[in-house]
Every structure is written in structure tokens, then in C-alpha cells.
């Protein structure tokens, strides 16, 4: 397909390390004895548990319901008994534990009642969004934003639906394998999404380092006789899979700073999300499993596994020939944007696309001073000046960092990867953003407190004025009563 493509600024050519995990076909991961399901696997409010300890649950049954608009329910990934509800280790950069529901599986894999809607075309888009919401579907590319919200055009015209199949980070191949093996499911899901959005155009953007997946998608479109979905290969250059970058490459349009793709008539979803939408709507299956890439130098047989959500990471490492006790460094996500997991007992969650395991963390080279060489600025896909951001973040001049558009940083890690002084630049930006948020929260709090204080002063003043007025009145009344007596003639 010879579509016109655009080029985003900066970016890096990284060695892919993708062939390691694409040699073997995807396999179902073994059913674990215990499933640990965190209540917070998405962006938004934590889900509210609706099952009690000791209760028997069926596969696909809701165990926690969405709380508020931006939230997602959690389902039992297999049948069994709820044996605990409380704080357990979860994959999070902080390493803290978080509320989870633990299910002891019974091995029966007994489904709850499913309500498939094979003919989605007869359905109202809002009904489809409801089905998708109730299925607990969130962005499977890694962000975890509830998908039904991004399927609601909110009165805006969406002219293009973009499916993100770029998978630009090294090592990760879960979308690649899903496209190779389940292209038809993805296509069905895309059609549902398109129906919900009334999008005129639809493009699947895929990096040109995945020829098999590309061929599978094209073949599926031909076999299903579906027109109007374009599959476009984009040059492999990190971070081509960043939402803003992919949109720019495919359409030449830039998502405005502080804006959303829908503001320029575009909605972007991940291909794995599309497959999940298909299963939710047409098969009635909620999101209870996903493809996960198990790879890295510490994994003897790297491959993709179809994993039930809640499965401990250690079991997956074992299934790929690794001894979990010998893994000293485990990253969830890719090497550029993933984060270190503190324990391999943490479960796979909705946003777990890849586990990158090694015996040791990469050696940390001591940071040297910034020599302002500008390599970071050349690599920055947002066209920022990372050297200036660093300078101001380092000096804690956060307002100046903000003037240099700190909040346009997508934390892709390109700057830090090319820094000859080995400065952990992204860490500085995260720190600066966190400080600015904290200050803003504190300022808001202070504003509220001040307003309250001012109101109190005004109230006291008013009360005092009223009291004085009452006194004066009383005095006047008393004076009025006494006066005749005093002035009475003897």
C-alpha cells in the first residue's frame, strides 16, 4: 500500500529483539492454583468488590464492579472460590501492595452465563459501549484507559479510526503474534468499534518489521471480504507506536498539546483491544485473558503465552524455562517505557503486554554532567529541548521547566537512551512533573483554606455587626422605656 506517510521528529532505530519470542506459536498458559486479581488494573477509580471471601465464582463472573464513569469492572478469570480479599503485591513502579481478590481455582473452568450479540449492526452504539464497559475492556497497549470512553465521540465527528499495531518497543511481540494468529478476531472488533464511532475511515498502522502480521491482516480482510479498512506499514522507528506519533505518521495531523486525538477527529485503539471488543460483544466473554510476551536474556525459551489475568508472573517464567529465583530483574512492558516489578509473585494484569526478565539489572553507569551536546534534542519525538528541561528540573526551577513544555514529554526514554553522560533524564522529568502536581494540589488546598478563612472572618464580622445592632436596639428600647420615667414630673 503506497499511502503518503509523514515523519515525526526525532526517534531512534533500536535493535528489535523480536524474533526471539516469535519462533514458537502462542500457547495457553497453565491454569494457576491461585489467581490474584487487583481491583485497580486501569486508569480511573478502583473497582468495588461484589463477592465475599468463601463465595464460589464462575469464569467470567463480575467480582468487582466499576465505580464511577472512568473505571472498569474486574471478572473472575476462572471458576473457583474466593479465598482472600486484601492487599497483595501488584505490578506497580512503587512496589506497594494494593487491594486484590484472590481466587483458588477448581480446574473446572466453568463459565458463567454468557450473552453473545453476534449481530452488532442492529445495536445502538450506546448499547455496544455498555457491553464493552461491562466486559471490563481497557486499552491493552499498556495505558489501560477504559475503552468505552474512547468509543464515545461525545458529539464530535470522528473521521478516522486508527488501530495501533505498531508495537514499536523492542522485545514486545504480543500484538504481532495476535495479528498472525487471530487476525479475523481483530478485524471483527475493528468493525464493531467503527460502528460505535461512525468513523468514515479506518487505518491499521503497523511497523514494517512485522511482515507476517501484515500479511495475516491483509489475508483476513480479503477472506472476510471487508472493504474500507486500510492496513498501512509505517517505518520502524521508535516511538512510532506512540499515539500522537502514529497519528502524525499516518495522517500528518498533530494532536494539540493538552488535547486529545478526538479533537482532531481521530480515535486510536490498540489491535489487542479490538480483539477483546469482538470477544466481548460477539461471544459475550469479558476481558479475562490476554497475550503476554515472556522474553529477555533470562528466559531460555522466550515466547508468547495466552494468560489468564491474575496469573503470577513467576509461573509464566517457569513455563518458559526460567527459574524465577534466578531472575534478578523483571520489567513489565518494554525496555524503553516498562517499569521494574518488585516481585515475580505479582500477577499479570490487563496492561501486562510483556515480561522482560534478566538475571541482573543493567549496569548503572555513573552520571556525568550534561555537556549540552544536544543528542537528546535530536532524539526527542516531541521536539522538546531535554537538555534545558534537565537543567531546570535539576535546579528545581519547575516553572521554567514548564515554560519549556515539560508536560509535552511522553516519557518515551529516547533522550536518556542516547545521553553520553548517562543522565537518567526521564526520572528528572517524572520528578519535576510530580512536584508540579503536588504544588498545584497544595495551592488548590491553600486556596480553599483561604476562601474558608475569609468566609469565616466575614461571618464573624457579620455576627459581630448583628450583635452590636441588637445591643444598640436594646439600648435604644431601654432608653425609650426609662426616659419617660426619669423625665416624669415629681
Amino acid at each position: 500500500m503506497n499511502a503518503k506517510l509523514w515523519r515525526f521528529p526525532g526517534g531512534l532505530h533500536l535493535s528489535g529483539h523480536k524474533t526471539e519470542s516469535t519462533r514458537l506459536p502462542t500457547q495457553r498458559a497453565r491454569l494457576p492454583k491461585r489467581l490474584t486479581l487487583p481491583l485497580h488494573q486501569h486508569i480511573g477509580a478502583e473497582a468495588k468488590p461484589v463477592v465475599a471471601v468463601g463465595e464460589r465464582v464462575l469464569k467470567g463472573q463480575v467480582i468487582a464492579r466499576a465505580e464511577g464513569y472512568v473505571s472498569a469492572p474486574v471478572h473472575a478469570s476462572s471458576s473457583g472460590t474466593v479465598i482472600a480479599a486484601g492487599d497483595f503485591p501488584v505490578p506497580h513502579p512503587s512496589g506497594l501492595s494494593a487491594p486484590c481478590i484472590v481466587i483458588e481455582t477448581d480446574g473446572a473452568e466453568q463459565w458463567c452465563e454468557r450473552h453473545p450479540t453476534p449481530d452488532y449492526t442492529a445495536q445502538d452504539p450506546s448499547h455496544l459501549r455498555n457491553l464493552i464497559r461491562e466486559a471490563g475492556i481497557v486499552g491493552l497497549g499498556g495505558a489501560g484507559f477504559p475503552s468505552f470512553i474512547k468509543l464515545n465521540p461525545l458529539g464530535k465527528t470522528v473521521d478516522t479510526l486508527i488501530l495501533n499495531a505498531a508495537e514499536c518497543e523492542p522485545y514486545i511481540t504480543c500484538d504481532d503474534m495476535l495479528m498472525r494468529e487471530r487476525a479475523a478476531e481483530i478485524i471483527h472488533g475493528i468493525r464493531i468499534m467503527r460502528h460505535a464511532l461512525h468513523a468514515a475511515h479506518c487505518i491499521i498502522g503497523i511497523e514494517d518489521n512485522k511482515p507476517e502480521a501484515y500479511a495475516a491482516l491483509v489475508r483476513a480482510l480479503r477472506e472476510l471480504r471487508i472493504d474500507g479498512i486500510q492496513v498501512i506499514q509505517v517505518p520502524t522507528r521508535y516511538p512510532a507506536g506512540g499515539e500522537k506519533q502514529l497519528i502524525h505518521v499516518l495522517t500528518g495531523r498533530e494532536v494539540p498539546s493538552n488535547g486529545l486525538p478526538v479533537h482532531i477527529g481521530i480515535v486510536c485503539h490498540n489491535v489487542a483491544t479490538a480483539a477483546a471488543v469482538h470477544r466481548a460483544v460477539q461471544l459475550g466473554e469479558p476481558l479475562i485473558s490476554r497475550y503476554v510476551t515472556i522474553t529477555g536474556p533470562g528466559v531460555p525459551e522466550p515466547r508468547n503465552l495466552e494468560v489468564l489475568l491474575g496469573t503470577p508472573m513467576a509461573e509464566l517464567l517457569q513455563q518458559c524455562g526460567a527459574d524465577p529465583s534466578s531472575i534478578g530483574h523483571l520489567v513489565m512492558g518494554g525496555p524503553m517505557m516498562g517499569f521494574s516489578v518488585h516481585t515475580s509473585s505479582a500477577p499479570v494484569v490487563k496492561t501486562t503486554n510483556c515480561l522482560l526478565a534478566a538475571e541482573h539489572a543493567p549496569a548503572v553507569q555513573a552520571a556525568m554532567p550534561c555537556i549540552r551536546c544536544g543528542a537528546c534534542a535530536e532524539a526527542c519525538p516531541a521536539n522538546l529541548l531535554p537538555q534545558q528541561l534537565y537543567w531546570h528540573a535539576h535546579a528545581k526551577e519547575f516553572d521554567k521547566a514548564q515554560n519549556y513544555n515539560l508536560f509535552d514529554c511522553i516519557e518515551c526514554g529516547c533522550c536518556a537512551a542516547v545521553c553520553p553522560s548517562h543522565i537518567p533524564l526521564v526520572q528528572y522529568y517524572r520528578y519535576a512533573k510530580g512536584e508540579i502536581w503536588t504544588r498545584e494540589r497544595e495551592k488548590q488546598k491553600a486556596d480553599v483554606a483561604r476562601a474558608r478563612h475569609e468566609f469565616r472572618l466575614a461571618r464573624l464580622a457579620q455576627e459581630k455587626a448583628e450583635r452590636e445592632a441588637r445591643h444598640a436596639q436594646k439600648k435604644a428600647e431601654l432608653a425609650g422605656k426609662n426616659a419617660p420615667r426619669e423625665t416624669a414630673p415629681h
Binding site: 488535547g259 525496555p335 521494574s340 516489578v341 518488585h342 556525568m368 535530536e378 553520553p420
Partner: protein, 342 residues
């Protein structure tokens, strides 16, 4: 379980290898300089290197900074090379010592060391010498092919460290003003460029005799650095462009009073300045557009100083002046951030 912060991948060569590549790129030009102006150049480079490393070590210790990583980063060596290559080939040893020590101690370490100096240390050292010791700093050598005398390494070292000429030779016999200097003197006397070039043997076909080769090889080293992505094209192209535009305009206006652009590009420190001195990232502009203004500013100022100023070459002053302007230029040349209005 060990933890690390993303990105977990690093592909960058360290600062020390960046600096090492700068030194590799200098070598062809250094060899040419030695070829034309004798072993004194090599003595100066070695002396400057020793003084630079020693001053760096002393200052790091005094500032309580780790010595090894900063001594091995190579930045002090680059400063030593750049300064030594700007000095007269038989400059007395204390000239090299004072200049290098000033560059490292004052211009670099007192400002906070690597990455913190607002001025190019080598040029700061050079300008201190030029202002303080004008006689020693303008006594250049004639190319060996002109003077007919070739000093051995030992003889050159003897001159540098004792100030005495080897037996049977006077320093006047081997020294001559640089082509830029000679030209300036002749033009001051009201002669034409052509007459000046005929009158003195120090001129070559493009620039000064020998200087055109030296500049050519620094140009080659600079292009290699661009190829290796040690530097970007912006500053050298803008600098040489500025010099070229100015010299072409005035040469076309009056060819008798203003020498040809080729002479300007292949004389003095033009190529060394464009590729090695002005590109010092610490003291230069850092935005792509800012680098263009910065380079062009140096090129134009160099021409102004060469044509009408009191000094024969102007690279050092031009670099320091633009160093001062760099933060301001950076402020006004920020690139358009992705997603912001065009």
C-alpha cells in the same frame, strides 16, 4: 529483586569516547601543523596536555570532586590540544603553562567544571595570553620550506624551555609573521592585496603557505566528526557561511583592499575554529536554529576583526563574544514543540 528506572536500554557512547573522537579528528591537522612548523608544535601539545591534566586534578581535589572519572573524560585534553594548536610553535614554555592553567583553573573549574563553563576554556586561555603577552604571541614561525631551517625535536624543546636559539641560528632567521598578520601590515601601508601577496613568501595559492594544508586537514577531520555524529552540521556550516558571505561581498566590492574568500577560509584558525572550537557544546548554543545564528555570528565577527580589528585573527574573540550571547539566542530559538501551534 533489583529495580531500575526506564529506559532500561542505553545505546550512547560515553562522554570520554566523544572527546576521544574529537582528538582523533584533530590528528591529521596536527600532523600537518608539525610538518610545516616543526616539532615545537608537538612540544607545545604535550606540555599543554600535562599542565591541563595536572591543573584539572588539583582543582578536582580542591573542589572535593571525584578525580578519576573527570580526569579520564578527555575534556581537559581537548582543551589542551585546541589551545596548544593556537600558540606560536616556539612559544616559551611559560606561555603554554599560563594559558593552559588559566583555561582549566579559571575558565573551566572555577565555573563548576565540565558542563558548567559559559566560555570556551581554550579560547579564554588564548585571549588572556594574547592580551597579556602580545609580543610572544605574535612571533610565529615561517614554514620550514621558507626559512630553510628544520629544527629537531630536541632543538625545538631547547628553544621553548631556554629561550636560546640553537648554535648557528638566530630566532629571527626562522620566525615570520603569519600570513593574516603580514597581509594586515601590508594593507595598512596602503598596498593592494596582490602586491602584498607578491612581496612575501608566506602566502600560498589559497591561503597562507602550509596553512591551506593545515586548514584542509582540519576540514577533513571535521567532516569525519560530522559523519560520526560527534557534531552536527549547523555551527561549522553557519560559521564558514558567515565568513564566506562577508569576505565575498567585500572582495567583490574592492578586491584590492579585501582579500579573496578562499584566503579567509584557508588561513589562520578558520577550519579549526569552525569544526573544533566553536562546536564545543558546553559554551555554544544548543537549539538547532540557535546554532545557526551562533555559527554565523562567529563567522561574521571573525571577518570584522580580521578586516578592521587590531588583531590578525579573530576566531578567539568572536567565539567568546558569541558564548556570551548563547543563552539569549537559545531562549529565542526554541523549536516548535510537537502539537503546539505552527
Amino acid at each position: 529483586m533489583q529495580t531500575s528506572s526506564s529506559p532500561h536500554l542505553h545505546s550512547a557512547a560515553p562522554v570520554s569516547s566523544v572527546m576521544l573522537r574529537v582528538i582523533y579528528a584533530l590528528i591529521p591537522g596536527v600532523i600537518a601543523t608539525i610538518w610545516f612548523f616543526g616539532w615545537g608544535v608537538a612540544v607545545n601539545v604535550m606540555l599543554a596536555a600535562i599542565v591541563a591534566l595536572a591543573s584539572e586534578a588539583v582543582m578536582l581535589a580542591a573542589r572535593g570532586r571525584p578525580i578519576k572519572p573527570f580526569l579520564l573524560d578527555g575534556s581537559a585534553l581537548v582543551t589542551a590540544f585546541l589551545l596548544a594548536l593556537s600558540l606560536p610553535p616556539l612559544a616559551p614554555w611559560w606561555i603554554t603553562l599560563i594559558g593552559t592553567a588559566f583555561a582549566i583553573v579559571v575558565a573551566k573549574q572555577l565555573y563548576g567544571g565540565l558542563g558548567c563553563n559559559p566560555f570556551n576554556p581554550a579560547m579564554a586561555g588564548y585571549v588572556v595570553l594574547l592580551i597579556s603577552f602580545p609580543r610572544e604571541m605574535t612571533q610565529w614561525l615561517a614554514p620550514e620550506t621558507v626559512s630553510g631551517h628544520a629544527l629537531s625535536f630536541a632543538q625545538a624543546a631547547q628553544v621553548i624551555f631556554s629561550g636560546a636559539a640553537p648554535p648557528g641560528l638566530t630566532l629571527d632567521a626562522v620566525s615570520a609573521a603569519t600570513p593574516l598578520d603580514t597581509l594586515k601590515t601590508h594593507l595598512h601601508l596602503g598596498e593592494t592585496v596582490e602586491a602584498a601577496r607578491r612581496a612575501s613568501p608566506v602566502f600560498g595559492s589559497l591561503g597562507g603557505l602550509g596553512w591551506e594544508w593545515i586548514n584542509g586537514l582540519f576540514l577533513a577531520g571535521g567532516l569525519w566528526m560530522m559523519y560520526k555524529k560527534v557534531i552536527t552540521w549547523h555551527i561549522p556550516v553557519a560559521l564558514l557561511g558567515g565568513l564566506l558571505v562577508m569576505s565575498t561581498a567585500f572582495h567583490l566590492f574592492n578586491g584590492d583592499a579585501y582579500v579573496s574568500p578562499a584566503f579567509h577560509l584557508f588561513s589562520g584558525a578558520a577550519m579549526l575554529g569552525a569544526f573544533f572550537i566553536a562546536t564545543d557544546p558546553v559554551s555554544a548554543c544548543t537549539t538547532p536554529r540557535g546554532k545557526l545564528y551562533y555559527g554565523a555570528g562567529i563567522g561574521i565577527l571573525t571577518y570584522i576583526i580580521r578586516a578592521w580589528g587590531g588583531y590578525p585573527d579573530g576566531i578567539a574573540f568572536a567565539v567568546l563574544l558569541m558564548n556570551m550571547a548563547a543563552p539569549l539566542i537559545d531562549h529565542y530559538t526554541q523549536p516548535r514543540v510537537f502539537g503546539h501551534k505552527k
